[in-house]
Amino acid sequence: MSEAMRGPRTRSGDGGVAVRAALRPYLAVIAGRFQLTLQYRTAAFAGFITQLWFGVIKVLIFAAFYAGGAARAPMTLGNAIDYVWLGQALLAFLPWNADPDVAEMVRTGAVAYERLRPVDTYAWWYARALAWSVGRVAPRAALMVAFAAVALPLVGLGKWGLGPPASPVAAGLFALSFVGLVLLSAAITLVINIVMTSTLDERGPNLLAAPFVNLLSGLIVPLAFFPDWLRPWLRAQPIAGLADIPFSIYFGALSGLSAAGAIGLQFCWVAVLVVVGRWRLEAAMARLQIQGG
């Protein structure tokens, strides 16, 4: 890391080299944190088992609701099951907490050192959050997809598993929207980090974040199940981009122009959250109180 920290000081006439040098500390923190997070294999396996069990409960409950009134549902049972498994696979992208290492820094006062690094604190924290979420999701998602999209069909339970995307175009759009999901997840983690840094309190933001993120992302119930008059509002808010938008694109409920619009909205929210977040973080850092001693 010490080598990486010298990165931005590198001077070079060549623009490409300069950019690469400027990015080096951020790429280094992404690589380091990703590898570190991947080490927690037992936690990943326990997370997979838990998410699998809750996925089974959700699928069974949907099946029971559909058995009594499928005509009134806004999507087919197959789509609802795809939604459940995608949600369970990508659950760890949901920003429930502040970055635990940043929380520790705020608690101990070590956050002061962040001011000494020759890097942009926002970009630095963003890179950490990105690597942390991807590192936690990767093993869980791989296991969940292996179970829901491969193992279940193999034993003849395919209709209870995760089907393929609606079409090749849907797959491409989903890939794009997935990138939006990952970027958005880190941006919202940063919002929680910043609230925590400003208020010097991690418990409040952590307690409040999870319930709202669960509800507004569509994880508790796909947003399409809420009353119709609420739906435009639910789709427009930023947290829909963490689950509901990419999942709906996956099984084709959002396609063509509306899918493109939804993806555009995801990236707009990323941009807004990053710009406002960076501004608020600078303000918080300017009048930072250091705890501990």
């Binding site: 326990a46 029971a64 009594g68 009134g69 009134r72 307690l207 319930p211």
Partner: protein
């Protein structure tokens, strides 16, 4: 026995005083636990808005099932913290040695470890949902029905405590607390929010014969409502089903004793 109860009372009083020393923190964690469950119920409400019913049950009736298991689980969750953190706090550190030296049962001392007041948030929400269910369904409750529900809650608290004790017992070998047991406690609680007859057969059997959560929620609730089980359980058995929770606790305590005999201190 009286002595044990008096001692437990002192443990509880000490734990309550300790939590009252940080009123803001207590208020916040309680509000957080309340908010989480309120939002969870919004999801259930949204599904009923769409579908109207599940397995022949309407939203008011499901609110009663939901309320019963929520209150039961909060009571268990409030009282069993010591077993929940047993692996990381007592086994890994060797602190369990001290508990063994005292002339009182280790299980009692762990029960007294903490009474988590923040779980009152979930309890209040469960009670509120139950009250809403009562208002919607206009169920008429006899004294007998109330007694059955009280028995169900006691049996349920015993069952969840038994699960936590099994988790703690495993920690004698695994050292760390096995969080996979959460799928039976939290997961069982989630499953029991709906009447059991909505589930597929294999899953129902798990919830009655392996982890008898159905015996402390679904079956006694049918008895309290005066309904017959659509699945055909004989009606004389329904009000007696919560006894399975106490049986489960008995088995758990038996394995706990076995575990203690195999406890090798990590040294400290």
């Amino acid at each position: 026995m009286t002595n044990a109860l008096a001692l437990y009372g002192r443990y509880v009083a000490a734990s309550v005083r300790a939590q009252m020393a940080y009123p803001a923190s207590l208020a916040m964690t309680t509000a957080g636990s309340l908010l989480g469950t309120v939002i969870e119920f919004i999801g259930i409400w949204a599904l009923f808005q769409r579908f109207g019913q599940i397995g022949g049950w309407r939203v008011g009736e499901v609110a009663l099932f939901y309320g019963l298991i929520s209150v039961t689980f909060s009571i268990a969750d409030m009282t069993t913290r010591g077993f929940d953190v047993f692996g990381s706090v007592f086994v890994r550190t060797g602190a369990f040695d001290r508990l063994l030296l005292r002339p009182r049962s280790p299980a009692l001392q762990l029960m007294g470890y903490e009474l988590r007041l923040s779980r009152l948030g979930r309890l209040a929400q469960g009670a509120a949902v139950f009250a809403i269910g009562l208002a919607i369904t206009h169920e008429h409750w006899s004294v007998g029905a109330v007694a059955i529900l009280a028995f169900a809650m006691a049996g349920g608290a015993a069952l969840f405590a038994g699960l936590l004790i099994l988790q703690a017992t495993l920690a004698f070998w695994t050292v760390e607390s096995l969080e996979a047991v959460n799928i039976l406690t939290y997961g069982g609680q989630t499953a029991a929010q709906y009447p059991l007859n909505v589930y597929a057969g294999w899953f129902r059997n798990v919830l009655i014969w392996i982890v008898p959560i159905g015996c402390i929620s679904y079956l006694p609730m049918l008895a309290a409502m005066g309904r017959a089980d659509p699945l055909g359980t004989p009606s004389w058995l329904l009000p007696l089903a919560p006894a399975a929770g106490f049986a489960f606790l008995g088995v758990a305590l038996f394995t706990w004793r076995f575990g203690i005999r195999h406890y090798a201190s990590s040294g400290a």
